[in-house]
Symmetry: C2
Amino acid sequence: MEAKQISGGICAPQGFTAAGIHSGLRKNKDRKDLAMIKSSVSCSAAAVYTQNKVYGAPITVTRRNLADHQAQAVICNSGNAYTCLADGVELATKMCDLAADALGLRREDIIVASTGVIGMPFDIQPIADHVGQLAAQLSADGGHDAATAIMTTDTVPKEIAVEFTLGGRPCRIGAIAKGSGMIHPNMATMLSFITTDAAISPQMLDRSLREVVQDTYNMISVDGDTSTNDMVAIMANGLAGNPEIVVQDSDYQQFTAALRQIATVMARKIAGDGEGATRLLECTVCGAPDLQTARRVAKSVITSSLTKAAIFGADANWGRVLCAIGYTEGDFAVDRIAVSFSSPKGCIEVCRNGAGIAFSEEKAKEILLESEIHINIDMGLGAASATAWGCDLTYDYVKINGDYRT
Amino acid sequence: MEAKQISGGICAPQGFTAAGIHSGLRKNKDRKDLAMIKSSVSCSAAAVYTQNKVYGAPITVTRRNLADHQAQAVICNSGNAYTCLADGVELATKMCDLAADALGLRREDIIVASTGVIGMPFDIQPIADHVGQLAAQLSADGGHDAATAIMTTDTVPKEIAVEFTLGGRPCRIGAIAKGSGMIHPNMATMLSFITTDAAISPQMLDRSLREVVQDTYNMISVDGDTSTNDMVAIMANGLAGNPEIVVQDSDYQQFTAALRQIATVMARKIAGDGEGATRLLECTVCGAPDLQTARRVAKSVITSSLTKAAIFGADANWGRVLCAIGYTEGDFAVDRIAVSFSSPKGCIEVCRNGAGIAFSEEKAKEILLESEIHINIDMGLGAASATAWGCDLTYDYVKINGDYRT
């Protein structure tokens, strides 16, 4: 059963407050650039990070701070990633100090993250000047502001919360996330912060997060570029009062299902709001010989520039889908593949047994003009399946990235 | 010493004739769509093919025909790849029969290739109707027409020839090639046909081709999509009268150097004429720990959508270069990396020891506005180096591929 969607985002779980302000890191005064999330009590915490060998200083510092699997607050800025700077780690540590001082916490209890341009000199003064104001604004209504403050080229803030029951007690999970370029997570992902009031041990929290990330945040791609600053962090403060989850029992399964629900929504939101995107692309692969192949094929299709451009043009150019399946890593047969496109306007099969079949181009065009397009692939080889999310490749992607820094 | 560039393209080597005509496969009568190359005598032949598991029927048939390492002619059409069709192999075999009959050769001596849309029904009648005319037009002046007839979204035909000396005898190598989308060769590549009058055994020819392809055709990318129909084929007819190359001696080295020269020019031409491209991008990696890492890093950088879009915008966004280096497969240190951009307008260093350094944005912009941009990377780790070629990502790439089939 799906957990019930509720309002409140990351502040929906008990004990969490959040805020987002304009500190001056961005020149545009209408753009928030600094976010904070705080729990009233210490939390179990877990995180996954980018696999890029070039990674941001905040990744180094957060990894160090989470060594004890405990955290109580997040500070995150947008507008400057302060990555590839000689003094990056110093700056990230200083950010933790500033947040810790403002909140009366230890610096080791802070999760620090950043997003923005890589390699630009970073002036921390605006943060030093405004962290007190940020802390003062923390409130149970602040989740939306925090979601807004971490945006870069995102066109909409991304947040969600759900409620479900564990041991008779209502529990909540909330999340915010940001994309929307340099999105091709690899065993970790873009920025997303998740809060929950469920009681769960750090070990189970870590396991649950890793399990879910593989099928959600890691199954999206906007442009094939794995960011240097990807991070998904979760904090669980236990205030729901459920019996603490300490083994992989049915409560763990239920918690993980709710977390998966949250993460799937966030992943879809990030993909659909990819830079310049006009269409959300969902590729489902079934009949795969194994899970790894299913995931790889789904991701290969939604990453293909040619497929993405065809979807932008509402062109049922299924040959490009076959091509992307064919260059996927791994050894598998391609002579049983069936492909169909679907949307709220209907479903149309375009390929069977690896070869084209006659179809109405008009009907296909009608289906592909919708804002959410599904590419359904049956490999005809086994029972494994996977889903990946992407977006179309548009003029605006080029425009946004042809002159991002100015 | 570089081999001397000469005119004549694929017909520069003795004994080769070529032709290119409009047969009617394309609707536009001004577009040639069928090419033929013929040697007056039987040739040693070798080829490399796409590694895509979905591959065109002509690949299947050419592979079969070259099992005896002999060939005497090439037939290649553009406009329809007849790939992913139930009757593809039958059609490709028929094309060989048509060419063989028109030329008085055995069908096993024909190299057949195709390029164009995948999965569209293919009517072979225009070829049957015009193959006689095509054969009749074969001439020593026909190389350019053949180069034109294999074009798809290419904006210019691509051809080259060089002359060098083996055993006191002048030898020549000529080549044509086509891009310009779905270009991300993987141990094989887009279409290119190479002719030579050098005498070389099939075994040495195959070795030389494979050696060269790795550093040239396989080091380019336009869009990360490995085509289903990639093929590079070479025919050597021995008419130069040099002592046949049968071992890896100095003649072999000299032949391979000339072939590398040819292949490098073709690779650069294909990359520079990538779909929608306004700039050729050359990335040279030195100081790499090993050759594989050097190649991977160079290719990762020129494949990155974000780097390509930045180059389109003449934006010295070197953080994206670092990001692409960082997500390259393999385990290596990134703290000694130096990066510079150069063009005929000068050279500017932007990153040293993995961190940004102050530079003039104005000067960088001036450099990046040129039509050929070099990204120079020194990894500071070893002695291996490699070069890869790509192009910028532009509005026109999206335009071309958003509605390619109509």
